[in-house]
């Protein structure tokens, strides 16, 4: 009949669309979980907190998934959101610890021999990375997780590759100075 709307068919289309969207999100979640957790971990140095922040970032990404269906766009947005949430979490955690009279310490518990030396080296590296300006820090973090190359980092940060290259150079120089 002319003008007749097949409600069942229309509903089926919506259900299909929702299912496709869910599947796409599931793929993004599977391929970007490590990225989000590592970005958060680079800021927080705490695995559980890092997972918590990364989960929050994914939940927010789901709400905006209509605008983030493109893979590159999704990953770039996820990195920015995770970084921001992790920074916020760290600030509030520091405020809480300051209120309670405690102090943040990234030093690992003391242990014997080589392990103690490795822990000390790792703690120094953490402190050196922390001392970097945020623009340099985010570049060195992204360049060293999941083997991202310069172009990947440039896409994630939405800056030119040359900018990433110069920032990475500066970050390495600064780190070497700090670690000497």
């Amino acid at each position: 009949m002319h003008g007749h709307v097949d409600v069942d068919r229309l509903a089926g289309t919506f259900v299909d669309e929702k299912a496709v969207r869910e599947r796409e999100f599931e793929i993004r979640l599977a391929e970007s979980s490590t990225l989000a957790v590592r970005v958060a971990y680079a800021v927080l140095h705490h695995r559980q907190d890092a997972e918590d922040v990364a989960q929050e970032a994914f939940a927010r990404a789901y709400r905006r998934f209509g605008q983030l269906r493109d893979r590159e766009r999704f990953r770039a947005w996820l990195v920015r959101m995770t970084w921001r949430l992790a920074i916020d979490r760290r600030r509030s955690e520091r405020r809480r610890l300051a209120r309670e009279g405690a102090h943040l310490s990234s030093a690992a518990p003391a242990s014997a021999g080589e392990e103690a030396e490795a822990n000390e080296r790792a703690a120094r590296l953490w402190r050196a990375i922390e001392a970097l300006p945020e623009k340099l820090r985010v570049v060195i973090v992204l360049a060293n997780i999941q083997e991202h190359d310069l172009a990947d980092v440039a896409r994630l940060l939405d800056v030119p590759t040359g900018t990433v290259k110069s920032r990475l150079f500066l970050a390495r120089q600064r780190l070497k100075e700090l670690l000497q």
Binding site: T34, E51, A122, N144, K176
Partner: protein, 189 residues
């Protein structure tokens, strides 16, 4: 590549390996399930957020309505004005202890008890005030006092009638003399 450059690259690679080891954490097996739980809990959280907004909106509406529909009290006159309101003339005179002195400051202004609450400056009076000159105020007050004391009887005034149309005599012999204006001497040549 010079030996210095080679050494530099080696040092960079070593540093990168160290950093990679530092960040080498993997999401736990429960990570994805945790994301799904958060997403599933989202509608409830969103609903709570909407309820909060709804409550805030209702409270704002109630406050606005109370401000709009609360009848404002008639404005008291400004004591610094020389004139008096007709409303004050008709209302009973306040007691002596509450009367404002000439400087406009209440006698009990220094008392911490029962001070009149400060009224907002921008309260609009319910009715426009009619200001009277001081001498008219005195005259009206004297008239009202006289009527109250029985010294002045207003009955004839209240019973007096005015004819709707005044009957006037027709004018028949009206003569208007011509006006002669003499020229002013010395003005024109």
């Amino acid at each position: 590549m010079t030996p210095e450059e080679f050494g530099e690259r080696q040092a960079d690679a070593a540093l990168d390996r160290e950093i990679q080891m530092l960040f080498a954490v993997e999401p736990s097996p429960q990570f994805r399930a945790g994301v799904r739980v958060r997403i599933a809990n989202e509608p409830a959280a969103a609903e709570r957020r909407h309820l909060w907004w709804l409550g805030a909106a209702a409270m704002t509406a109630a406050l606005t309505a109370s401000v709009i529909f609360t009848p404002s009290r008639p404005a008291r006159q400004n004591p610094t004005l020389t004139g008096r309101s007709i409303v004050d003339l008709v209302l009973p005179e306040p007691s002596t202890s509450r009367r404002l002195p000439s400087d406009g400051v209440p006698a009990d202004a220094a008392s911490p008890f029962r001070r009149a609450p400060a009224r907002p400056r921008h309260t609009r009076p319910a009715e426009p005030e009619i200001l009277l000159a001081p001498d008219e105020t005195r005259a009206l007050r004297a008239l009202i006092a006289g009527v109250d004391a029985g010294r002045i009887d207003l009955t004839p005034v209240s019973q007096a009638t005015t004819p709707d149309v005044m009957e006037l005599e027709p004018i028949h012999n009206l003569v208007i003399a011509p006006i002669a204006i003499a020229p002013v001497e010395g003005v024109f040549p």
